[in-house]
């Protein structure tokens, strides 16, 4: 019982606080957004530390995995950020010469993520949890590779057919997708440091089920949300049936127009 209370206090409640913080980012008031950021950092940090604070909880393995892959993810995102903002865009933030460095960091991040799977070396972040392979790694890796290959193949096709002169971008997206799919196939036929081919085959099958389940669940909730709003909007009176605006509303409209037009009062 005490373990459950500890898990609730140090894992589940922080996770709920982080989710609340994330939801607060969609509010208009800046004060609430800032408070939400605070919640997100506090809740997220406590959740990420849960593999140290409540190691007896089976769910703490997920935070151990996220912490283990964090260096690789940081390399990937920092690399892509530098490469993007060193390019020819209006909000250029980095020198053009830093672009190859960005790409190098991105490739190093992907290589680190794969090296962690293929080699169980001391200098690499460990994917073990309680003496076994972290079960969330068996969920993350196939989902990531499958998701990446699907999304990259799809975007490669869309960019080629929707934009003009986008052949290079389309080809590079396709190549990265092919690499990702190649690693999936390799896992199906070769044992690695953490999984056998049988385990990986089952993981891929479950990852496919997961992705389809997520797509279906997301689709249904969007449909329900749309219907809830549509039903209400349809019951509202049409523009022709609305009562004339009150003096207060006219004042408000005049104020908005005045602010947007600018200029002197007597013009």
């Amino acid at each position: 019982m005490q373990d459950e209370i500890r898990a609730a206090l140090l894992l589940w409640i922080p996770l709920a606080i982080a989710s609340l913080g994330m939801a607060m980012q969609f509010r208009r008031q800046h004060s609430l957004q800032n408070l939400g950021k605070g919640f997100l950092i506090l809740g997220g940090s406590l959740y990420l530390a849960s593999f140290l604070t409540v190691p007896e909880s089976p769910s703490a393995a997920s935070s151990a995995l996220i912490v283990a892959i964090l260096p690789a993810l940081l390399l990937i995102f920092v690399g892509l950020y530098i490469a993007t903002f060193a390019g020819d865009i209006p909000v250029k933030r980095f020198n053009r010469k830093l672009r190859p460095l960005g790409l190098l960091l991105f490739i190093s991040g992907l290589a680190l993520l794969e090296a962690m799977n293929w080699y169980d070396e001391k200098w690499l972040p460990s994917l073990h949890w309680e003496g076994e392979t972290n079960k969330y790694w068996l969920i993350f890796r196939p989902t990531f590779l499958l998701g990446m290959s699907s999304i990259l193949f799809c975007s490669s096709y869309v960019i080629k057919h929707m934009g003009e002169n986008r052949n290079d971008a389309s080809r590079n997206l396709f190549l990265l997708g092919a690499f990702s799919f190649g690693f999936l196939l390799l896992g199906l036929y070769t044992d690695n440091a953490y999984t056998t081919t049988d385990q990986f085959s089952t993981s891929v099958w479950l990852a496919t089920s997961d992705l389809f389940g997520i797509l279906a669940g997301l689709g249904l909730s969007i449909i329900v949300f749309t219907l809830a709003i549509l039903q209400y909007e349809r019951k509202r009176p049409g523009l022709g049936n609305l009562p004339p605006p009150s003096n207060e509303q006219l004042e408000l409209a005049a104020d908005v127009i005045r602010k947007n037009l600018g200029g002197e009062e007597n013009e």
């Binding site: 997920s62 990259l152 971008a169 479950l206 949300f225 809830a228 039903q231 209400y232």
Partner: protein, 147 residues
């Protein structure tokens, strides 16, 4: 691009999106136990995603209701939809329920589903962010090379 070829491109893009999954399902041999586990995983992922995103949409109704006269009907409708997801999850994962995976009870299964969702969503989000950035990097480098 006119409307008809655009629709065709989107249709083919949708097919390409699921193509790697289809190929893997065909080439990886799946036993009967894998099939039943796969179905349980699909249903758990479906219910968890539906419930969590419905709750997320309820929170987002704040924004919508601010732009109207703070109506109650969409809130209540969306809340019912989320509650339905919670009830279905509890009913289908309680003892003997067919969505119970390697867990002892309904609460453990629901909590596992939430953590599972976080890890899966993280994997998908990372993949999407990589795609967006890689596309941008390529497009901006092309402009740079032209100059």
């Amino acid at each position: 691009m006119s409307e008809s070829p655009k629709q065709r491109v989107m249709l083919i893009a949708g097919f390409i999106l699921i193509l790697p999954s289809l190929v893997l399902v065909i080439i990886s041999s799946s036993s009967d136990s894998d099939l039943s586990r796969g179905f349980a995983r699909f249903a758990n992922a479906f219910l968890t995603t539906y419930t969590l995103t419905s709750i997320f949409f309820i929170v987002n109704m704040f924004r919508y209701s601010k732009s109207r006269n703070e109506p109650k009907a969409p809130w209540i409708g969306m809340s019912y939809a989320a509650i339905l997801g919670v009830i279905a999850s509890i009913a289908l994962t309680s003892q003997g329920g067919f969505l119970l995976e390697d867990n002892s009870g309904s609460r453990a299964q629901i909590l596992t589903n939430v953590v599972h969702f976080i890890v899966t969503a993280l994997a998908v989000m990372v993949a999407i962010v990589i795609m967006i950035f890689v596309a941008f990097v390529n497009i901006t480098s092309r402009n740079q090379n032209k100059q």
